[in-house]
Symmetry: C2
Subunit: 727 residues, 2 copies
């Protein structure tokens, strides 16, 4: 077997003190690894065939190994760097003590990994580049074939996801994969205006994107709350309208290079003519009305808007597009265009005169005029226009691209009019929806009424992370792992809709993303530790595990969030769609499979999602009783400690009510189990009393909601259905 | 009470669902907070007097509050920014919903905090600046008085450490503090050559330094393994000798500004004439001998050395000092000067001819000549020379400063010859010594034989973090919290040597440092999760809690570390001096106070430290039995799971032996407890058998050592001392 060096002496040295384990492990390594344990590829490839056996990367016991690679055809610096990064990660996964690569270009020998790439990618990555690849693994080694670097880089990510441990050895199971994306535009948008994210956070997000095979980083660089990209032509944009938080041009270029190295295009967004308070504060001549003295920290839709009637406005934009267009070489340039408020236009006599002259009676017409000018400017700089729904207007050419925040219907409307589009609305992360909900939303659903030609105009979609309720401490856990579920929607075949299997693979890949450097698991843990200033905040961990944030609108309404709001409360220490929902659902299902849960009496109650039970997650009835009891006892213990913590620590004062409710849920759960186990009917009125408590727990509080109320309801109904000794 | 707004309506709204708690908390807030719970200031101030009562920052229940501040005298942008940062942190600590500051300059009113600063600091911070401050807190508010920003910033850190929770309210206890540092040079050195650290890691380290009142960041920017500072004059230094990992000049300036904003000087080190492989690889003409083709990844003392006989060498250095001297405005410039290997000089005919002409027969004399020329160059650029021990030579003027890596004796020698010095040797973090060991080492020990005048030449010391065995994932946990203990040595009065109290305060401030953004607790947790790819690696956490890394030399010897070595093993997931040593020691002390532990039979055994028991950490005998039993049971459970994990996960293959030993320790502990509780004598030979097992656990394995063997030994001896029913 290649990939193993003999090295048993070295293994013995390293593990000499663990003779027992070593012996067992080495024996295991010599037995062939079991071939067909399920894989955890994400996104799922277009086509996959499992083979017999596996290629051993490191033997059992984690001893030294040599993993070699060759280039069969050609390679360039980008691919070389990608291979090196991949091998470092493979070394981490496999724990090779001296995992080394040797380069043996250009003569292919029997290397562990043979890479055949026909040509490098385009100098500036395009929408139309071939991203396909083929990956074959046999017990002799792996072969990765791709038309360009792009496919090869995707293939390397697949290879890393293949690596798994079998009986102590680290192996690549034998497999033949043909893979290519369903959509060409697989994006992720990050708003860095409402809250700024440092370069390090952006770059690790790009690492996550590469792992998820996403290929467009849409950088929302300007909004009312700040202009975040340094302009040498218009230095006041960041001097006065960024509060010191912005990217220098060197940093912008660094991010572009970092993304390119990972097969990701960077599309910058400079939002205009609305959401432009920062521009106007820096350069008041851009807008009608009075100068702006301070950045608006209150979120929403300020009325500040660029003046589309002045020549000077277009001169400014032309200069900015020229400057930024060089920093961002991508063919597409995002001009925003959303939520333009017309009041300031209508209040300005010169603008209204202009509108009258043109025959416009609505601000939307003036915006269309503005966009026409903009499109001319972009064309001059070899850029194509992308913008939000509102830019759609028959006055604009069919070359523009519509990003739909308004939803599937709006997207289809555009396509019917012949406009290209991408879908964003269902993928707003601050909606705090579950991975399943976002995963099932499809840019081109199976029941689409679009013609085949119209469907081709839908280029893909974008996951969007708005930053009103986000900061550097929470960005990872708001973005990941849910973004990976959507990435699969964008990449994998349309008929890939198995939610159970998606979750199985998502849980595994979520852990791997942490190893890539993301902090979606460790971040919230740290926030919880810091909230309590306690080394081991386990009671808060227990509470947090059954909570998730309320959605954007609910939080805005309850917290009156603005730019000054400290984002360091309980809600910032919990994550959307935690594993608890499904774990509890599976356990309850084992006990109460026959129970149907009616909706709550009060339709306004913000109940958690239905307790979907992923396949394979229903334990035996006996195990379910045991696990649920342990769970409820841990909730009870957590309540007691949390009430002390809340007293001691003003910072989690708002967790008090939720802690008490956790105790109540525990009591409901334990008494339900008792009735169920003893086959005893609860006393009259018991069910109603429990339901009142469950309804109370479904009320908004502390900006979070429980994830287990559906299953608790089901458990109560199961207990209530007992008749005495009805076994 | 100022600082409380009435706001009871708001409190009710926030906590309406937790009526019980709210009511209790509000009642508690109205009672005066208990005045004299112990403070946790670190470093300890020169003088502190406790007063009556406290100033309430936020009331019980964490409701809204307004914390206001004024400037009584003057202020500048630096102080303003520092105050704002401090208030954000105070808001985090106190959990104020809308903690806001108002600036009411220049008329002092009855603000929560009155800041009196006589003048801003020097434009470039100097060694001699007054860093003193005075902080008075009464129930009416706080007053911070300082000659300059520097003292005021130190006072703000003290104020933040004062903030504490009493009966649900967040308060500043009444106190009068007069404070000033014992030493003027309180440094921290970071090696970024052996492994690079990104700007983010450097900046959060500076945040930690500011919290610890350290004032010199010594940046080891060049070594054999890489030149990390961009030079526009000599671009090859980073083009070819940094593998892409270096700081741009913008980044260097950013770090200098970040440090200045926190009262920290930045002293760059460019190590010469030895440790210069990176320079010589980039510019071969700088050195005798053959050109260097690749950076030496193997650590040690390569023989590459600059040529002190060529004029061109000094021209190069002059240009570099000029360029870097502008980026680093500090008066001091560190020229390294350590571990110069003379072989290359002695092998070069021109150099030996030069030496002969000068009458030198030893390389050290040639180095002294080199340093003389260097000193002239530095003087020309208004820089003072600092270097390691080896630069000490009578040929050099008394204005130079010696940094002693050789230890206290070498430092004192220098002072006797009239040279200024700072102490580094006892503060090498990769020595993996305990906080107590490092804390007790004193630049001027009480038993010094130096005269008072000579003592004045000792300016302070530096904690040093070398990076052969360090990466970005581990830097926080290697540096913190131990550096805070040394920072206290540098700042606080000489007679502050209460190890127990130091640890009490260190544990509290370690948690606060995490809240500042450091990752010394969450970082190793993440490494452990990633090692296992397990969401909750609790068994590994249990094992890690009783392990610490072996020291630098032991690890080098066992792992043959070099630049390629992956630093992602068990040793990288454990920290020096974890709390377990003292916890177990305290528990065993409660049971076996009368037992003396002799040294182990084999003097070569690398035993853990003696089980020093911090005051107040000895529980009742009953609690000790309970806690130890729980502890040993958790060790037992962890062993079982870990042996599975080790099989499954090649990356921690080397943890197998340690896991088995953990199980053995658990068994020893449980059987010892059984004899002790039942007052039963163990059978003959029992003690010897346990000691053999304990000795085996003290053998090197997996690059880690146990922290509890001393106490386990003591427990065994206590059990062995039982006589049947000897109650």
């Amino acid at each position: 077997m290649k990939g193993n060096i003999s090295g048993s002496a070295a293994i013995q040295r390293i593990l000499s003190a663990a003779a027992l384990i070593t012996a067992a492990s080495i024996a295991a390594a010599q037995a062939p690894p079991s071939p067909l344990s399920p894989l955890a590829l994400m996104p799922l490839p277009s086509s996959i065939t499992r083979g017999e056996g596996a290629f051993t990367v490191t033997p059992a016991g984690g001893g030294p190994s040599t993993f070699t690679y060759n280039y069969g055809q050609t390679h360039d610096a980008r691919l070389e760097a990608a291979v090196r990064r991949a091998l470092i990660r493979l070394g981490r996964t496999c724990g090779g003590e001296v995992l080394r690569s040797t380069i043996d270009h250009p003569t292919p020998t029997n290397a562990s990994l043979l890479i055949n790439v026909a040509a490098p990618g385009e100098p500036v990555q395009t929408l139309d580049e071939d991203e396909s690849y083929e990956l074959r693994v046999t017990s002799e080694g792996a072969t990765l074939t791709a038309p360009t670097d792009l496919g090869a880089m995707h293939g390397l990510e697949t290879l890393l996801q293949l690596a798994t441990t079998q009986q102590g050895a680290c192996v690549l199971p034998a497999v033949t994969i043909h893979d290519e994306p369903r959509f060409r535009w697989r994006g992720f948008m990050l708003d860095v205006s409402r809250h700024f994210e440092p370069v390090g956070a952006v770059e690790r997000t790009l690492d996550g994107m590469a792992a998820a095979k996403l290929n467009v980083f849409h950088w929302h660089l300007s909004d009312d709350q700040g202009f975040r990209a340094e302009s040498k032509k218009f230095p006041r944009l960041t001097d006065v309208a960024a509060e010191g938080e912005f990217y220098t041009q060197d940093q912008l270029r660094e991010v572009v290079a970092y993304a390119r190295a990972r097969g990701i295009r960077v599309v910058p967004e400079f939002d205009m003519p609305g959401h432009g308070s920062s521009w106007i504060m820096a350069y008041p001549d851009l807008a009608p009305g009075k100068p702006i003295k301070t950045l608006p920290v209150v979120y929403g839709m300020p009325t500040a808007v660029l003046d589309p009637t002045r020549k000077s406005t277009y001169k400014f934009i032309n200069t900015l597009v020229d400057e930024m267009g060089r920093i961002f070489p991508d063919a597409w340039f995002h001009i925003g265009g959303d939520e333009v408020q017309g009041e300031a236009w209508l209040a300005d006599p010169e603008i209204t005169a202009f509108m009258k002259k043109k025959g416009y009676d609505k601000p939307a017409q003036l915006q269309a005029y503005f966009n026409q000018q903009l499109e001319e400017i972009l064309k001059k700089h070899d850029k194509k226009m992308i913008g939000w729904d509102e830019i759609l207007d028959p006055a604009l050419p069919k070359t523009i691209l519509i990003q739909s925040w308004r939803g599937e219907a709006s997207l289809s409307d555009g396509a019917r009019q012949g406009y290209q589009g991408i879908l964003a609305a269902p993928y707003y992360l601050d909606g705090q929806k579950s991975s399943a909900q976002m995963y099932l939303a499809d840019p081109v659903p199976t029941d689409t009424t679009l013609t085949t030609e119209q469907q081709k105009l839908i280029l893909g979609g974008e996951v969007c992370m708005w930053a009103e309720q986000l900061n550097t401490e929470t960005v990872d856990s708001r973005v990941w792992p849910r973004t990976m579920a959507v990435a699969e929607r964008f990449w994998s075949p349309q008929n890939d809709r198995d939610v159970s299997d998606m979750y199985r693979r998502l849980r595994i890949n979520a852990l791997k993303l942490e190893d890539v450097g993301l902090r979606h698991i460790s971040g919230p843990e740290t926030v919880r530790r810091n909230l309590l200033l306690k080394r081991d905040p386990e009671a808060l961990d227990v509470l947090a595990s059954v909570l998730e944030p309320v959605d954007f609108h609910a939080r805005s309404g309850l917290q009156h969030t603005n730019g000054w709001t400290a984002l360091d409360r309980l809600v910032d220490a919990v994550v959307a769609d935690p594993p608890s929902r499904q774990q509890v659902a599976g356990e309850v299902e084992a006990i109460a499979a026959n129970i149907t849960v009616p909706p709550p009496a009060d339709p306004k109650l913000q109940l958690d999602l239905s307790g979907d039970v992923p396949e394979g997650s229903v334990p035996s009835r006996e195990a379910a009783f045991r696990r649920l009891r342990q769970r409820f006892l841990s909730w009870q213990a957590a309540e007691t400690r949390l009430l002390e913590d809340v007293q001691r620590t003003p910072r989690i004062s708002d967790a008090g009510a939720r802690a008490e409710q956790l105790g109540e849920l525990a009591e409901i759960g334990l008494s339900s189990l008792a009735f169920l186990e003893s086959h005893t009917a609860p006393p009259p009125g018991w069910q109603e009393k429990q339901m009142i408590t469950l309804d109370a727990a479904a009320q908004p509080s502390a900006l979070v909601r429980f994830t287990v109320l559906y299953s608790m309801r089901k458990l109560v109904l199961a207990a209530a259905a007992q008749t005495d000794h009805g076994r």
